[in-house]
């Protein structure tokens, strides 16, 4: 204590502390493990399991998963189709991988878009009093719109022009991501605005003002790090909502084209044969729910890890 020449604690990146804290959250670690697994499954899976997910094979339609043989020796199974095939003979495992790619891509991009939009609007409304009324009434306006009809109208209006510009797959991807993104930022915006309003009156913001910190750096240095927790929570919830909204759109026939699998689409395609072939619902359903659950846990762990007050206790 008395030695004035002592240097600060060894310079260790803050990220290591965050990782140490993150590791103590068991759910988050399991969630992270599963997320890595499912990401590798959808990204690298198709390289190992080289079956075209769209290939029709009518002769081998309605195959049961290989494990059905354990209790039903009569079942129509084959090692060539480990998770069975659907009513058109398409391989379900290959479809799960291909569908996962789309679902995850849609989920992550739409979530990022909605979180960025929501944070931006929330921070601006909370920090700048002049913008508050305008931006929040706009938020109320979007919140009051019935979402699904709005999405349907957007699909009908823009689908063809976007398809023409970016190609059928990219066009519909952009359309779905943007549609989900701009219809789900409102909750984030409201939560963030509330937090910013409270933070703005804290003394450390006043202290920064007495130093002469301009608004831009005030927001990035003092406001944003302190609203990270609610943003993180709404981001994890947002990913779930995005995947589910995409499923709903596909179900209504306004999502991706029919030969373009996503988890939601596989699920909804199989709903009417659910009693005979429960595995066709269970597998994509499990993929969606476990991914969402994993991301929720990761968000939980990250929120704790990023808070220096919890960290190191």
């Amino acid at each position: 204590m008395t030695d004035a020449t002592q240097q600060p604690d060894r310079v260790r990146s803050q990220w290591w502390d965050i990782w140490d804290q993150f590791k103590t959250h068991r759910g988050a670690v399991i969630g992270l493990g599963f997320l890595i697994f499912i990401t590798l499954f959808v990204l690298l899976g198709p390289l190992l399991w080289q079956v075209d997910p769209g290939k029709l094979d009518i002769r081998n339609k309605d195959m049961r998963p290989i494990y059905t043989i354990l209790w039903d020796s009569e079942a129509k199974v084959s090692w060539a189709k480990p998770l069975g095939s659907d009513n058109l003979g398409r391989d379900i495992l290959a479809n799960l991988m291909q569908g996962g790619r789309i679902s995850m891509a849609v989920g992550w991009t739409a979530m990022l878009l909605s979180v960025i939009l929501g944070t931006l609007i929330g921070v601006l409304a909370g920090y700048f009093k002049r913008l508050d009324g305008l931006l929040m009434r706009f938020t109320d306006l979007v919140l009051a719109l019935p979402l699904l009809p709005l999405l349907l109208v957007m699909m009908l209006l823009f689908r063809d022009s976007l398809r023409a510009t970016f190609g059928p797959e990219n066009g519909i991807f952009i359309l779905i991501v943007v549609a989900i993104g701009i219809t789900s930022w409102m909750q984030t915006a409201r939560i963030v605005r509330g937090d910013v309003l409270a933070l703005k009156e804290r003394e450390f913001v006043l202290a920064a003002r007495s130093i002469g910190t301009p608004s831009r750096r005030m927001i990035t240095r003092h406001i944003l790090p302190n609203v990270l927790s609610p943003i993180m929570v709404s981001a994890t919830l947002g990913l779930a909502t995005a995947i589910i909204t995409e499923s709903a759109l596909s179900f209504l026939g306004l999502g991706f084209p029919s030969d373009f699998p996503t988890w939601g689409k596989i699920l909804f395609d199989s709903v009417d044969r659910m009693t005979n072939y429960p595995e066709r619902v269970i597998w994509p359903g499990l993929c969606i729910s476990l991914t969402v659950l994993a991301v929720n846990y990761i968000g939980d762990g990250l929120r704790d890890a990023l808070d220096p007050r919890i960290r190191g206790q």
Binding site: F204, L206, I211, P214, R217, D307
Partner: protein, 353 residues
């Protein structure tokens, strides 16, 4: 320090008003205003400590913040180091910020919980200097030495410190830009007594070493007596009495000051005064102050004139300003043996020139 003729004012505040609007009703119409600070004038001489005391809610903190232009003031003039900043816009004011800094009341709330101490102290340097990162880091460590913080703690976060240490971090941040004037907004109110003494002694040492000027806001009269050169007493947004410390504590002139000082506990029972001036009633709302003298609703010696006329602040003795109808130069010259009529005349002349 009591001899004000040599010192020139570093900070001079004239008729400062800070009114906060009250909006109510469906249309959020402006229905009134809270007159938190309502016409305050004082000077702070270079190198002195002006204590600002008063009960809770009398506008002390608002006054301190308004002087630093953390608020856009309603009216009045503030000049710091010869520069008028009262109506200057915030972007131009930014270049003036290094001269004036603030130490906050709650050391817990005044430090960003997500920034390590090093970054907190470094923030003023980031904003106002062009030093390289290593120079800034070195300066931060020097500042931590200056306020008595271990250099090892530079990478820790505020929650890992005790109240007194946090207040030292706040002081280090205020010192980073070598300011001339520091507003200490109840810097010791949130600390326990043993730590209070440490922090006040630190503030005094720094004043001596760096030649700082303080506006020391507090409701702790004994602490103000210890640190202040002159003391201003505030009541309901006004300064009712402004006097050198010794004179004020020896012989308060304004009835409110008398009541306030009689409330200070005396540790020695033999010296404890028999009679206390006990005020009745509550402080009136600053949104609806009484007509006439602000203190007329609670004053023990109130007269009819107090309820109609607002007393002006007069210099009743050299260097002593009182806002009361019944405290005049005539009434005090007989009461106070130390201030003869001759010295008073001289000072009044001196003030006019």
């Amino acid at each position: 320090m009591l001899d004000d003729t040599n010192a020139k004012p570093l900070v001079s505040v004239r008729d400062l008003k800070m009114h906060f609007p009250i909006h109510a009703g469906l249309l959020r119409r402006r229905v009134g205003e809270v007159k938190a600070v309502d016409g305050v004038s004082f000077d702070v001489m270079e190198g002195e400590t002006l204590g600002l005391v008063g009960e809770s809610g009398c506008g002390k903190s608002t006054c301190g913040r308004a002087v630093l232009r953390l608020y856009d003031i309603t009216a009045g003039e503030i000049s710091i180091d010869g520069v008028e900043i009262g109506q200057m816009d915030q972007s131009r004011l930014r270049s003036k910020r290094p001269t004036m800094q603030m130490v906050f009341q709650d050391p817990q709330a005044s430090l960003n919980p997500r920034m390590p101490v090093r970054d907190i102290i470094q923030e003023p340097l980031d904003e106002h200097t062009n030093l390289s990162l290593s120079e800034k880091r070195e300066k931060v460590l020097e500042l931590m030495d200056a306020v008595g913080l271990n250099r090892k703690f530079a990478t820790r976060f505020p929650h890992a410190f005790s109240g007194g240490q946090r207040q030292r971090i706040g002081i280090a941040r205020a010192l980073a830009l070598n300011p001339k004037f520091i507003v200490c907004d109840e810097p010791i109110a949130a600390l326990d007594v043993s730590i209070q003494a440490q922090v006040v002694n630190l503030l005094e040492d720094l004043q001596e070493k760096l030649g700082l000027t303080y506006l020391f806001i507090s409701h702790d009269l004994s602490m103000v007596r210890h640190i202040a050169t002159r003391v201003a007493v505030m009541y309901l947004g006004r300064i009712v009495e402004l006097a050198p410390r010794e004179a004020l504590y020896a012989e308060p002139l304004h009835p409110y000051t008398k009541a306030l000082l009689s409330a200070v506990p005396e540790p020695n029972p033999a010296l404890a005064q028999k009679q206390r001036v006990v005020l009745t009633g509550d402080v009136p709302s600053p949104s609806n102050p009484p007509k006439g003298c602000n203190f007329c609703t609670r004053c023990p010696v109130v007269q009819d004139i107090c309820r109609t006329d607002d007393p002006e602040t007069r210099e009743v003795q050299p260097g002593r300003f009182v806002a009361c109808h019944f405290v005049t130069p005539e009434t005090t010259t007989t009461a106070d043996p130390t201030a003869g009529p001759r010295s008073q005349e001289l000072n009044q002349q001196g003030e006019e020139t």
